[in-house]
């Protein structure tokens, strides 16, 4: 009975947690490893559906990822929470046309990283 109570509490605790992005909890692949204390890295300069990317920061908090097309027009803007250290997650491409894009990471209004990438 005691075990059952613990289990129910555990389930309740998990279900009541604030929902946030779930970063991939695994050793950082060498392709995504960032030697500097902060940075942004993609598996390659060509992004395919489900490619991983790593955002490394010293400051926990909410950041913005912008995707701008060849003409620098904003086509997608995504807010995400980042923890201190590596934040590895997937990049999805099925809603995007193939082409050249600029990926911008902002902290508030400040641009902290900018990369030109090809999405296929």
């Amino acid at each position: 009975m005691k075990k059952l109570t613990y289990l129910l509490f555990a389930i309740l605790a998990v279900s009541c947690m604030k929902d946030e992005e779930m970063f991939i909890d695994a050793p950082v692949d060498s392709q995504l490893e960032i030697l500097d204390i902060e940075g942004l890295k993609f598996q390659s300069s060509d992004i395919t559906d489900g490619s991983l990317w790593n955002f490394k920061t010293l400051t926990e908090g909410k950041y913005t990822l912008e995707i701008r097309n060849h003409f620098k027009t904003l086509i997608s803007k995504n807010k995400f929470n980042a923890e201190i250290g590596d934040n590895v997650s997937k990049f999805y491409t099925k809603a995007l046309l193939d082409g050249d894009y600029t990926i911008v990471i902002l902290n508030g209004q400040d641009v902290i990283h900018e990369r030109k990438l090809t999405i296929r």
């Binding site: 929902d19 946030e20 992005e21 779930m22 970063f23 991939i24 992004i47 990317w53 913005t64 990822l65 995707i67 904003l74 086509i75 997608s76 803007k77 995504n78 807010k79 995400f80 997650s89 997937k90 990049f91 999805y92 491409t93 099925k94 809603a95 995007l96 999405i119």
Partner: protein
């Protein structure tokens, strides 16, 4: 094995040709024109054609030290210039029989050139309009290859003059050093014994198709099928380049022929659907509502300025624009109905008009109704090749595209060197669409994607401007990972909202039909449920296109921050 392959390859060549095999072959070899054209099918009147009488010596025992060859030609087709003798140091001789033509010796092959003369049965006869030349070269040493060049100027395109208009009739070949004359069967006209090619007209310019399309249309997806004659025999099919152009000089090169062009879509079905979706948007609906007096407070008839707009949006083709047309277009934008399916066929050839510019510009406010449209007959045309480049100019408009965002405006520009049958011609004054249908104003807005409660993905749009009466967004999403749930609007009490999704695109927007402004800070929020565990929202949604119209009914640019 190698020898077997060589044998197999050689057998058909030997069987097909009429070579002397171990004697002398004499080839009437086209060397090109003096202006550098090497394709005989492209020779034109007034070109100087160069032919060589070329000797191939296939005999190992004897040489060629003497040859004479008779070549007859049609004087109505060609003018013969002085020959160019090619064997250095040789004795050369040329004489003619005027108004003479060879009657072949039917006992021997026509290509058996020595038999034709020596075998008896053939003869030269008096024939007006023909002339025979007798080219002789004699030398102390053996020679082969080109021994003389014949230069002819093409005179006419009249094909009745060109049947075997240059023809090798007979030849004699001797090795004087051994006293050997190549016998019957061993002097052959091969590979080419005669020429029947009819020249094209004397035209040193080009014929272009020039389709004026909006920069929003990918012209390379349009293919043109070229035809000729009363039965529209297909010549070829080609794609336009990115500028909507194609050089068709190789296919359209006669001023006496009638031609046709048929345009069709060469993109995918999805690309055709995307073209329509991008072209027909909320500002088109607002413009037509304004034209029919259903936007703001009436004042109908002051929105359109090009008659082609009336044709593009008179869906029921009753010769007038009315509420039914404007509500049809609004319903189309709202994905309630489809003006292609309802009124025409959902195909490029049915919904995308590509019209000769002269006809397009001749459509007026007085003649735009179905019954009175300028008559372009069956679309056939002829060319005037005597006056420089010919431009086959076309303009384009899309069914339902009220503001011509994917079409072209009417103006005075017309094709040059093209004759169409046009019943009515009163060109309009050129005027850019931007002068009346599009304002320079910008709508400021934000759009943010975020993973929220229960893992749902929210895409929230907020308008920051205060002079927009209608707006529309199309948002692509990854339907393999997200399921569309709903659009939640907070846009005030007087706004008509729409939000729905097809397979992977959400179409949403708002319109205040009385011309009022959508309240500042109004929001639209798309909610998606994830179909799998999502680690971030990066790339899951993207803006496909946007459109907006001001409180005055003018198109606005949506600037999403």
């Amino acid at each position: 094995m190698r020898q077997l392959l060589l044998t197999l390859l050689l057998v058909p060549a030997l069987a097909l040709g009429q070579s002397s095999s171990d004697g002398i072959d004499i080839d009437l070899d086209f060397k090109g024109t003096t202006s550098g054209e090497n394709d005989i099918t492209k020779i034109q009147v007034n070109d100087t054609l160069v032919f060589a009488l070329n000797i191939t010596d296939l005999n190992d025992s004897n040489d060629v030290t003497y040859i004479h060859t008779d070549v007859e030609y049609n004087k109505n087709a060609y003018t013969l210039l002085d020959p160019v003798w090619k064997v250095s140091g040789a004795n050369n001789n040329l004489f003619f029989y005027d108004d003479t033509k060879w009657n072949p010796n039917t006992n021997y092959d026509l290509s058996d050139l020595w038999a034709q003369w020596s075998g008896g049965g053939g003869n030269y006869a008096s024939t007006t309009g023909w002339k025979v030349g007798h080219w002789t070269t004699q030398y102390t040493s053996a020679f082969a290859g080109d021994y003389v060049e014949l230069h002819f100027i093409a005179k006419t395109t009249d094909n009745s003059n060109y049947a075997k208009a240059i023809n090798v009739t007979m030849a004699k070949v001797t090795d004087n050093n051994t006293g050997y004359t190549y016998p019957i069967g061993k002097v052959r006209g091969h590979d080419t014994q005669f020429i029947s090619q009819v020249p094209l007209e004397d035209f040193d310019n080009n014929v272009y198709i020039k389709v004026e399309t909006s920069s929003n249309v990918d012209a390379t997806k349009i293919k043109a099928t070229l035809g000729k004659g009363s039965n529209n025999e297909t010549i070829t099919t080609l794609n336009l380049d990115a500028n909507g152009e194609a050089n068709v000089t190789d296919y359209f090169n006669s001023s006496s022929e009638t031609y046709h062009i048929t345009f069709d879509w060469d993109g995918t079905e999805q690309e055709w659907q995307d073209l329509k979706d991008d072209a027909i948007t909320i500002s088109d609906a607002v413009l037509l509502l304004k034209e029919t007096g259903d936007f703001e407070h009436g004042n109908a008839g002051n929105a359109y300025e090009h008659p082609i707009q009336y044709i593009a949006t008179d869906f029921d083709a009753n010769g007038t624009l009315n509420n039914q047309d404007s509500f049809d277009l609004l319903a189309h934008v709202l994905d309630v109905a489809d003006v292609f399916v309802k009124y025409i066929e959902d195909t490029f050839s049915s919904g995308f008009a590509l019209v000769p510019s002269a006809v397009y510009n001749a459509i007026t406010m007085n003649n735009w109704t179905d019954e009175d449209l300028p008559d372009m007959g069956d679309g056939s045309f002829s060319l005037d090749l005597s006056n420089g480049d010919v431009n086959l100019a076309y303009k384009s408009a899309l069914w339902g595209d009220a503001n011509l965002s994917h079409g072209t405006v009417q103006d005075n520009a017309t094709g040059s060197g093209v004759t169409y049958s046009i019943a009515n011609s009163s060109p309009l004054t050129s005027k850019s669409m931007t002068q009346y249908a599009v304002s320079d104003s910008t709508v400021e807005a934000t759009l943010v994607t975020e993973i929220k409660d229960n893992g749902n993905v929210h895409v929230e749009f907020e308008i920051l401007s205060d002079d927009t009466a209608a707006l529309q967004l199309k948002v692509n999403y990854d339907s393999s990972r997200l399921q569309f749930k709903e659009v939640i609007f907070d846009t005030g009490d007087t706004t008509t909202n729409f939000g729905n999704s097809d397979y992977s695109t959400v179409n949403m927007g708002s319109i205040i039909q009385n011309g009022g402004a959508i309240p500042v800070n109004s929001t639209m929020k798309i909610v998606f449920e994830p179909l799998e565990t999502i680690t971030s929202a990066a790339g899951l949604v993207s803006i496909r296109n946007t459109d907006a119209a001001s409180t005055e009914g003018l198109q606005q640019h949506l600037n999403i921050q």
